[in-house]
């Protein structure tokens, strides 16, 4: 029934097929941590299964993954631990699933964050993407459900999108294993520092807020130079996020 779809990439010289080993739930002694984030019902769990070789149940309804699932894969002798975060529309609210996703990206400091989006609903999905890009500068966008997008005659200029967002963009149809090799390759390049991202920063903010954010960001950077997400911390402080205040006091960012 299932015909194995051979992606062109699997035969490409840049992708080392022999170097890939799906490790299932073995996640000990990993070299890199990879987080998997995205809106509900974009196929995160399908991507997770494709990467790890696990068969976690996937369902066609939002909010299926509430537990954090973990799995692993090995590529070119590096072991990656993959963490499937609960799907959320945003990271700004107080519900437990959003807090779990937010805290993992912020405090778990994943080496790479894969953001899975539905190519058919890019605009709505970008809300979460732009928030994540404020938190981490090591991310790749997985433009999933490209097969549906194609059928719906949605065309996406991947190059421009990648330029606008400042991170690599990989089109994929995880259900049919398309784009997964490219995704793995990109993840490995971000993890090893071969690709350096310059993520998009939220621009359309009223000037009075922008001024406040700048002032605060400057102070935060004085205290913690080299952190990628001073602006996000400033946003959260202005929001009055108690977890962030607690984390600042205990020095969890250092």
């Amino acid at each position: 029934m299932e015909t194995k779809v051979n992606s062109a990439c699997e035969t490409c010289e840049h992708f080392n097929k022999e170097g890939l080993k799906k490790l299932g739930i073995q996640t000990d002694n990993f070299d890199f941590v990879v987080a998997l984030a995205g809106n509900p019902n974009t196929g995160k769990s399908t991507v997770f299964n494709a990467l790890t070789g696990l068969r976690q149940h996937t369902g066609n309804w939002p909010g299926k993954t509430v537990m954090r699932a973990e799995g692993g894969f090995e590529y070119n002798t590096n072991k990656y631990k993959l963490v499937d975060l609960p799907g959320t529309y945003s990271l700004l609210s107080t519900s437990e699933d959003e807090a779990a996703a937010r805290d993992f990206i912020l405090f778990g400091k994943p080496d790479v964050t894969i953001i899975v989006v539905d190519a058919n609903r890019l605009e709505r999905n970008l809300n979460l993407v732009l928030q994540i890009l404020e938190i981490t500068d090591k991310a790749v966008l997985c433009l999933n459900l490209m097969d549906e997008a194609k059928r719906n005659k949605v065309e996406i200029d991947v190059r421009t999108l990648s330029k606008d967002l400042g991170i690599p963009v990989v089109p994929a149809s995880a259900r049919f294993n398309k784009g997964i090799p490219e995704l793995i390759q990109t993840v490995s390049e971000i993890a090893s520092g071969q690709i350096v991202c310059k993520p998009h920063r939220i621009k359309n903010v009223p000037s009075n807020i922008e001024k406040a954010v700048r002032t605060l960001t400057a102070e935060i950077e004085k205290e913690f130079p080299n952190i990628p997400n001073s602006r996000w911390i400033a946003f959260r402080l202005l929001e009055g996020d108690k977890e962030i205040i607690k984390a600042l006091k205990s020095g969890e960012f250092v």
């Binding site: 732009l130 719906n152 004085k222 600042l248």
Partner: protein
Amino acid sequence: MKKNNIDHIIELSNELRWQIGDEFHDNLTEGIYADAADIVKDTVKTSDSEKRFRLDAKIDKIVTSKYFGFPIMFLILGTVLWLTIVGANYPSSLLANLFLDTIHPWLRSGAESINMPWWLSGFLIDGVYLAVGWVIAVMLPPMAIFFPMFTLLEDFGYLPRVAFNLDALFNKSGAHGKQALTMSMGFGCNAAGVVATRIIDSPRERLIAIITNNFSLCNGRWPTQILIATIFIGAVVPESFSSIASLLAVIGIAVLGMAFMFGVSWALSKTVLKGEVSTFNLELPPYRPPRFWKTIYTSLIDRTLIVLWRAIVFAAPAGAVIWLISNLHIGDESIAAWLINGMDGFGFLIGLNGVILLAYIVAIPANEIVIPTILMLTVMVTGIGGGAGAGVMFELDSINATGDILKAGGWTLLTAINLMLFSLLHNPCSTTIYTIYKETNSVKWTTVASIMPVILGFIVCFLVAQIWRLF
């Protein structure tokens, strides 16, 4: 020194928060959306405006419509259950033949030939083995039919539509609309349903969803309902209507469970868990043709086998316990007989009997094994089953044979109806209780969630029995 700097940052942020005013959150969100729109403008082209969305919208218009929404829902649920009831019969008796008629005598003669002492072979073969064989024969076929069909529906994208249909009802009962999703999960497994309540933001509404999840008939209880309905409800109508009658009875129980869910949610939100209903966005995902074989495979591995394994793990010691209490005597009577006689009075009051109550106590770890336990205990009490001996499960040749045994044990239509009601309304299984404790971190709410359904069950069964006996 460092401490001071951080305090300074926090103070500064407090000050700035005053300056920029309350609109910050909304401004930021608007800013993000404006950025998103800018990016999409340059990168996404949609031509031939979204053909498939229109087909999706058309289907949605029907399945979520005011008039057709509910009938379609019941029709789908009915079809799934009907196929389960009709389809499970044959493989069930086949498995029973294999495990109980073929392997069991073979094991016994094997035990005899190596001179195993009677109590050891009784304990292992008549207790543990038979209970396990029973559970597999009774549970595997309905699960292997029900779960894949349910999973196909899930993958197709139907569940969010159910949530959409039920949203208004949940809203009226003061609960969160997303509870419809956790309720649907509960139809598979209550423990999973309780974990799924994490998608509900407000702690108040989440507690309501946790406490009432048990009213979703879980897969451990579907087979009980289906079996009892087939034996008793199906038997009181002419044969050509029997499967439709038992089907309606099972749906009736499931719907009653939903009614209790709304009622109890409403009562909780008006009393101990008062508060506003929060709003939320429910995205209706596109319909996706399920990947048939993959879905069948995962639902067999993830659900059927896991649930079956759990049942076996619990059934084995339960079989041992049943054999022991049937064979250990206090005075003239076995422990089981003492317990059953002791509870018969109360059992009669609520239209059940001592056997059923004892079976529920033995089966507290897992709902799945209630029916086998009841049958084993009934056989023991009525003394039918030939030379099998105390605490030995008899063979399930057919559903009719099961019915005969139960009728010989003094069962009536009332007993059957009340068993179905009680199977809906009793404490959650031990796994669910433990999950509730882990999710709420509160002994108080765990106790409420565990005890409240039993009390409701007693009250409902009592009322039904009294009214029944009036006529």
